[in-house]
C-alpha cells in the first residue's frame, strides 16, 4: 500500500491553536509523525525586557490564558528571590488557593476538550458547566475569571474575606460531588473506555527518555510532582497524594487529571481551614538589585520553569519561560505512531497542549543549512563565550 502524508494543521478544526503535524499514513494507521511549531510566536520574553518589573508581571501572566497564575507566580518568585524578599505566610497561602483553583479549572477544561474529541459532548457540556463554579470563585477572589492578576512583587494584591472563604467551601462541595460523578461515569461508561484505552501509548521508559512532565508523566507511572519533589510556597506543610496511573494511555491521563481535581479540593480545604493571619503583602523595594534566579512550579500541565536576570536597572535584563507543553511535545510523535488517524486529535489533546505558551523562539538561518557535530558545537560555544571574556575551556 502506498504511504501518504496528511498535514494536520496549522489551521485545523480539531486543533484549538495553530501547530502542524505531518502524519505519514499507511492506510488509516500512522507510521510516522513530525511536529512543527512556531506559528504563534509572540515575542513575550523580548517584550518583557522593555517593561519594568511590575509591568512585566502582567505580561508574563498573559503567556497562557489558562495557567496564568502559574506563570505569574513563577516570575514573581524569581523577582522576589533576586530582591531577597521574604513574603508573608498568608500571601503564600493565598497563592496556593488561587493555584489549586486554577488547577481544578484547567483540568475541568481539559476534561471537556478531551470529551469533545472523543465525541462525548454530554460530558463536554457537563464539565464546562461545572467549571463555572471555579470561575465564579476565582472572579470573587481576584476580580477576573481568567487573568487573575493576584500576584504582585512582595505578595498578593487582594485578601480572602470571610464571606468569600465560605462561598469557596460551598462551591468545593458541589465540585467534589460532580467530580465523583465523573469518576463513576468513567468507570461505568464503556464508550469512554473504548475510545481511550490503549490509545496513545507511552510506556514508562519512553516517557522518562522523552522528558515528559506533569499529568502525562504521572499517567505513565512516574510519581513526579514539583509540589512534592521541590516544595515551594507552603506545599511542604500540606497533605496530598501524587496521583499516578500505570495505564500509560489516554485513559490513564484522564484518570490522573480527574483524581487530581479531588486532591486539589483536599488541598484547598486544608489551606482555607487554617489560613495564616497577618499581612498579605510586603512593601516592594523601589529598585531590584542585579542577580538571577530560576524557579520551578507545578502548573496544571506540568513543570513550568522561569528564569529571570536583573542587572540593577528598572527592567528585567532577561526573562526565559519554559512552558510545560514544550517538554511534553517530544512524546507526541511517539504516541501518534501506530495509532489510527481518527485518534490523532485525541492523542494531541491528551497532553493538554498549549501551543502559544510553547512558541518561545524560532531560529531561522535564511538560506543556510549545515550539520554540526556535538564536538563542533562545543568548540563554537567556547569561542562564543571567550569573546565575551568568559573561559569555559577548563570545564570538562
Amino acid at each position: 500500500m502506498p504511504k501518504i502524508t496528511v498535514p494536520l494543521g496549522p489551521q485545523h478544526p480539531a486543533l484549538k491553536e495553530p501547530g502542524n503535524f505531518m502524519l505519514l499514513l499507511e492506510g488509516e494507521e500512522i507510521v510516522d509523525a513530525t511536529l512543527r511549531l512556531g506559528y504563534n510566536h509572540r515575542g513575550i520574553e523580548k517584550a518583557a525586557e522593555a517593561r519594568n518589573f511590575v509591568q512585566a508581571t502582567y505580561l508574563i501572566e498573559r503567556v497562557c490564558g489558562i495557567c496564568s497564575h502559574s506563570h505569574a507566580t513563577c516570575y514573581v518568585t524569581n523577582v522576589e528571590n533576586i530582591a531577597g524578599l521574604e513574603i508573608p505566610q498568608r500571601a503564600k497561602a493565598i497563592r496556593v488557593v488561587i493555584g489549586e483553583l486554577e488547577r481544578i479549572h484547567s483540568h475541568l477544561l481539559w476534561l471537556g476538550v478531551a470529551a469533545h474529541e472523543i465525541g462525548f459532548d454530554t460530558l463536554f457540556m457537563y464539565s464546562w458547566r461545572d467549571r463555572e463554579y471555579v470561575m465564579d470563585a476565582l472572579e470573587a477572589l481576584s476580580g477576573n475569571r481568567v487573568h487573575y492578576s493576584m500576584n504582585t512583587i512582595g505578595g498578593v494584591r487582594r485578601d480572602i474575606s470571610k464571606e468569600a472563604h465560605e462561598d469557596i467551601l460551598k462551591k468545593l462541595d458541589i465540585l467534589e460531588e460532580r467530580t465523583n460523578y465523573y469518576i463513576h461515569l468513567a468507570t461505568q461508561e464503556p464508550t469512554l473506555h473504548a475510545r481511550t484505552k490503549g490509545v496513545g501509548a507511552l510506556p514508562k521508559e519512553e516517557a522518562i527518555r522523552r522528558d515528559a512532565c506533569g499529568p502525562l508523566l504521572r499517567a505513565s507511572g512516574v510519581a513526579r510532582d514539583v509540589r512534592k519533589d521541590d516544595p515551594y510556597l507552603i506545599y511542604d506543610q500540606l497533605d496530598f497524594k501524587v496521583i499516578t496511573s500505570d495505564a500509560c494511555d489516554v485513559f490513564g491521563r484522564l484518570y490522573v487529571r480527574v483524581f487530581e481535581i479531588l486532591e486539589s479540593i483536599k488541598i484547598l480545604r486544608q489551606v482555607l481551614s487554617n489560613l495564616p493571619e497577618g499581612p498579605f503583602a510586603v512593601k516592594t523595594p523601589f529598585k531590584i538589585p542585579a542577580g538571577e534566579s530560576v524557579t520551578r512550579y507545578e502548573a496544571p500541565r506540568g513543570e513550568d520553569i522561569h528564569y529571570v536576570k536583573a542587572d540593577g536597572g528598572p527592567n528585567p535584563a532577561r526573562v526565559k519561560v519554559r512552558a510545560p507543553t514544550l517538554a511534553n511535545f517530544e512524546s507526541v510523535s511517539y504516541m501518534l505512531t501506530g495509532d489510527q488517524l481518527a485518534d490523532a486529535p485525541l492523542i494531541i489533546a491528551a497532553i493538554d497542549p498549549c501551543f502559544s505558551c510553547t512558541d518561545r523562539a524560532t531560529i531561522v538561518a535564511s538560506g543556510k543549512q549545515s550539520v554540526q557535530s556535538l564536538k563542533d558545537l562545543r568548540t563554537y560555544g567556547i569561542e562564543f563565550y571567550k569573546k565575551k571574556g568568559i573561559d569555559f575551556t577548563k570545564v570538562k
Partner: protein, 149 residues
C-alpha cells in the same frame, strides 16, 4: 463493572431541569462586586504624580495637566500661592487590560475599579474614557442641569 447506556438516565433527568445558561443580553448579567472592569478617575484627588502611567502594562492611561500656563500668584500679604494644578485623565479602552495596577499604584485613591463591563461600542472614538477636572461650582451646575432633564 461496565454498565452500557447508564448515561441515558441523565437524559430523562435533564428534561425536568432548569437551563444552566443565562438569557444574556435579554437578561442583565451580573458580576461580582470585586470584578475589575472600567477604571474610574476622580480628578479632584489626583496630584499628577504619574505613577499610574509608569506602571501601566498596556500604556493605556494618560494624565495630562490642563492648566500648564498658570503661574504661582503672590497674595496681598506677600505669600506665594502655588498653582492649583488641574488634570484630565484619558484611558484608552482599546488598550486597557483591566489589571487595575493603576488603582494599586495610586496612593491618593484617585483611580478606582468599577463593575461596568459592557463597554462594546461601534464607534471607536467613544472607546476613550476622558474625565476632566471641573470646578465644584461647575459640577453643581452640571448635576442641576441633569436633574432638570
Amino acid at each position: 463493572m461496565a454498565k452500557p447506556l447508564s448515561v441515558f438516565g441523565e437524559l430523562v433527568r435533564n428534561f425536568f431541569k432548569k437551563a444552566s445558561t443565562q438569557g444574556y443580553p435579554f437578561k442583565k448579567a451580573s458580576v461580582d462586586s470585586n470584578f475589575r472592569a472600567q477604571i474610574k478617575y476622580d480628578p479632584a484627588l489626583c496630584v499628577g504624580c504619574q505613577l499610574c502611567v509608569k506602571n501601566c502594562p498596556a500604556d493605556a492611561i494618560k494624565i495630562i495637566q490642563i492648566n500648564p500656563e498658570d503661574k504661582p500668584q503672590v497674595g496681598a500679604d506677600g505669600k506665594v500661592i502655588p498653582v492649583h494644578r488641574k488634570f484630565e485623565c484619558k484611558i484608552d479602552l482599546t488598550r486597557c487590560i483591566f489589571c487595575a495596577q493603576c488603582v494599586d499604584s495610586c496612593f491618593k485613591k484617585a483611580l478606582s475599579s468599577s463593575q461596568d463591563f459592557e463597554l462594546a461600542s461601534t464607534d471607536r472614538s467613544s472607546l476613550v474614557y476622558i474625565k476632566k477636572y471641573q470646578d465644584a461650582s461647575q459640577d453643581k451646575a452640571d448635576s442641576e442641569e441633569k436633574e432638570q432633564k
